[in-house]
Subunit: 308 residues, 4 copies
């Protein structure tokens, strides 16, 4: 069991998308721990409140990813288990950024939900992020509830941009991917090619304005393999619950994927009959809205372990 | 302050939809309390596990509603405040019902999401419902977390079937509408014409198989008016949070309605600037999926009162 | 075979929604012809280009309907066949109106696809409508291709607002409902209770800005019954094709309904095997987008009669 | 002006997805003509009606693409103009294939619109394709109306699987992409990297069962550049109309993209005022449904040239 340290300066962030065409920046063994310095989703360019997103963002060169990390022995058909150990803030204050980006967000027209209306104004808000809390204004302090917004493995053939979540994981923006959780990702390319970034110091369900408290992190995680566990979609486990995660449009399809996969998980791993699982989830299933702003929307469906 | 008792046998359940065309069964003053005996969504016809839904349900004659209740002084432009006091189970055991209804539910094709596949099997499960819990099988006991699945006021002109939620409330299937909460409904017809039914002893987020633990209830609630508070959509308040509720398809539109209305509420009633509210909700907003199975899907977006 | 004339002044346009609660204004026999003077969707109030929609429209009191017309012998389970004979323009020039209505249309946020953006500007354009054409500007003349935008029967229990299309017909805005076509509507209430209005002198696929060339019409149609032909959704027939019509959200559900019903029609009435019909429509099916702006979107799926 | 011939055996069909990571198989000059032998979407493996799709298809290794073709001088910000000259059938009879693929199609649940229902049966139908027509059965002959189902340029960074249409073109399945049309595709990678495949001998609107009459083609096309014409989405031109093409989910977003882009085109290239274009398209716009079965749905919105 080795601990690897992946410094910001050791990485390529090349070319901000991850597929089987990209060379790993780190090779690890199953069971190893990796401490990785992630950039924020704006690559640290949003330095103050006068720096407008439209002057900085050069789509699709956004949301830079750390990695890819090659896990020895990972093959198509395995699952990669990523246990989040800790997520610490990094960099000079004010190190947290939220903002309004033109034609991006849940309450604006976008480049696919097209309207002829004027975009919302661009606004940037910088905040101090510490593990004790995040002052929003004189009255309100946000809790520090960090998680990794974008984390995924390589698709088998594709190289997906880092804004789009899918069955490889990616930009799910799901607050449950925080310290203490284990995320299971499907392995589809040799070595899994894990990549991650887009740390959020705190985020509401749906990430409604499109931007959480974005920050650079030092993230510690343990990587392991579950050989021969073939996942269609990412899954997650905490001390309290198991969760299946779907990403799709429209949003009901994300919910269908998540609940459909959770039914299958209950059948395959916990001995439930399919119809019993379906009816039970109708009584005790829980849903978490990850994002309602990305090219695919993300939802997690979960069940408490006390029912398993 | 009077307490009224609306017995099952005093009601019409006529004709299972409520509009301005229907005569009230009860007239109350603002501040009065009403104790109402509601039927379950199957009008009590699902008496055992051999009674198939398709032999009992005669669509659109389903989901019978208690009421309408006329609240003196309620006029278009007011809000009706319904504070749920208690929800008790009623009727002989096993008094709880869940089931699979052909072409109804979140993981099946339906009469609008049409496919050429065979329907899922019909299955009925009867359970004993007490306030101490609901045994599911030898191993699992469900908690008793009751709420009213369908509750609404009359639309201004329409008479909506009782399966469809909308901006009048209706079949929202939102678990937050339980004891201790206050639901605010828009008044659009004289007297508000409140109606309710579809009690659920417990329900998961989304009511994924389409059916919760359906049961007949004795529901106590206090009705009050907020004069001149014109709501576009239902809102809800508990000791801990305020919530806006949207019902629409696709599901992202329910989320857009809910978050958009919550932004407006923060601006109108709590002194927030619009963009600040929008960005703050991106950090601390919470989302509850009511249903993903009805003719409109329902979502609630909320913010904790500690941020107000 | 009698011909009835339903003058504008003989009608109630009461209360602009049609359900089983509304008394008929005319009773006819199957086979009779009715000549009806319809109002335009703005009840004629948009008299010039300085009259802004927001000052005139009082939602939900819009889109006034002629009728309901009671067809003797029509019972639940029958189909009403409406053959459009002619649609003539009516009233003083400029008798045609199109406009931009705030938060209504296909390229704007709406009251369900909510955004925080400013609405589009209100603009009213009046045009001269004759059967020879509709001058748009010095260069462009639109063709006169009239049809009835809203036409439906009563739901069994509901009273639907006249903006919403559904399985009863209603505000489908489908350009195929013009002279020479026969529209089949499900009968769900005694006498069918046909209502119609919302004449369009011409309209593009989808009615993208939300408003066609709205005009008052004199519409001649023959009403007949097909006893015992139980329709789930409206259907349409011309000299060249048969079409099934779905109305739902999201738009793919309207397409699924339409194609699913057309498969069933081919099986029930034309001797096709289900899978053969499905695969054949994949090669020769045609789709017409009615509206992408109303509370439900409408699509027709058709097949040329030469394949039947 | 050179004519290039790209034989089936000269191609790589490697690795069935096209991005900036893939080496071109052919380099041409603007104005050159290319005659390319395309494979069918099943790479020719569906040789008879007993060969089941599930035994042949190895997702994501499907829908093989010819190319990429490098066009000298093509740079980000240009448009590639592809004029389809002719599409001829190729290979031994029966050279046409349609089929039902499990969990793929418009009237079945899929891997994103998940249900718990059984899949539809697998059925394969082989047909003889000639330029004179395609016999379906003793009674029905389908017309030969060939087009290219999948055609696109490389994204800037991504390598998209060949089943997904997007703003790069791709698997649009739009019947208008036939002989005589000119398709304009955005150039985002040096040389444009055009790829194509998925020839359809005929296809209905929406390709409802998911499969058209798939066939191998000899396709002749002329490639040209429009320097400095930066497209957000593909556009198409015929002798009669101009069309903008959107691909997204839900389907209404494809329609919003297409109509929104067409408004912009009318403003930029034809001198229309934005609101006038919007209102005019509401009267004379036409919509073509490409597919309702792929990971994104495709719609084209068009206007007749006589209005320009």
């Amino acid at each position: 069991m080795t601990t690897h340290f992946l410094r910001e300066t050791d990485q390529r962030h090349y070319p901000y998308t991850i597929g089987p065409y990209h060379d790993p920046v780190l090779r690890v063994q199953p069971g190893d721990t990796v401490i990785v310095e992630t950039l924020d989703a704006f690559a640290g360019k949003m330095v103050d409140e006068r720096t407008m997103p439209s002057s900085i963002l050069n789509y699709p060169f956004v949301n830079p990813q750390s990695g890819p990390i090659y896990v020895a022995g990972a093959e198509k058909g395995d699952a990669l288990a990523v246990t989040m150990r800790s997520i610490k803030p990094r960099g000079p204050q004010p190190r947290g950024t939220t903002c309004l980006v033109p034609h991006f967000g849940g309450l604006t027209s976008t480049n696919t939900t097209v309207t002829l209306q004027e975009p919302l104004p661009e606004i940037v808000k910088k905040v101090h992020v510490t593990e004790e809390g995040i002052p929003w204004n004189e009255r309100i302090t946000l809790p520090y509830e960090p998680f990794i917004g974008t984390i995924g493995t390589s698709p088998e053939l594709e190289s997906i941009n880092s804004l789009t979540p899918g069955n490889h994981g990616g930009n799910m923006d799901l607050p449950d991917v925080g310290p203490g959780s284990t995320l299971y990702l499907p392995v589809r390319a040799p070595g899994a090619l894990l990549h991650l970034g887009d740390g959020h110091a705190v985020q509401g369900d749906g990430e409604v304005c499109g931007v959480a408290i974005e920050f650079a992190t030092t993230t510690e995680m343990t990587l392991d393999l579950v050989k021969g566990w073939t996942l269609n979609w990412p899954r997650l486990e905490t001390a309290d619950f198991i969760m299946s995660i779907g990403s799709a449009r429209p949003l009901e399809d994300a919910a269908r994927i998540a609940y459909g996969d959770l039914v299958q998980w209950l059948v395959d791993s916990y001995g439930f009959h399919k119809w019993d699982a379906y009816m039970l989830l109708s009584q005790v299933g829980k849903v978490r809205l990850g994002n309602m702003v990305d090219p695919n929307y993300t939802m997690g469906a979960s069940i408490a372990k006390r029912y398993l």
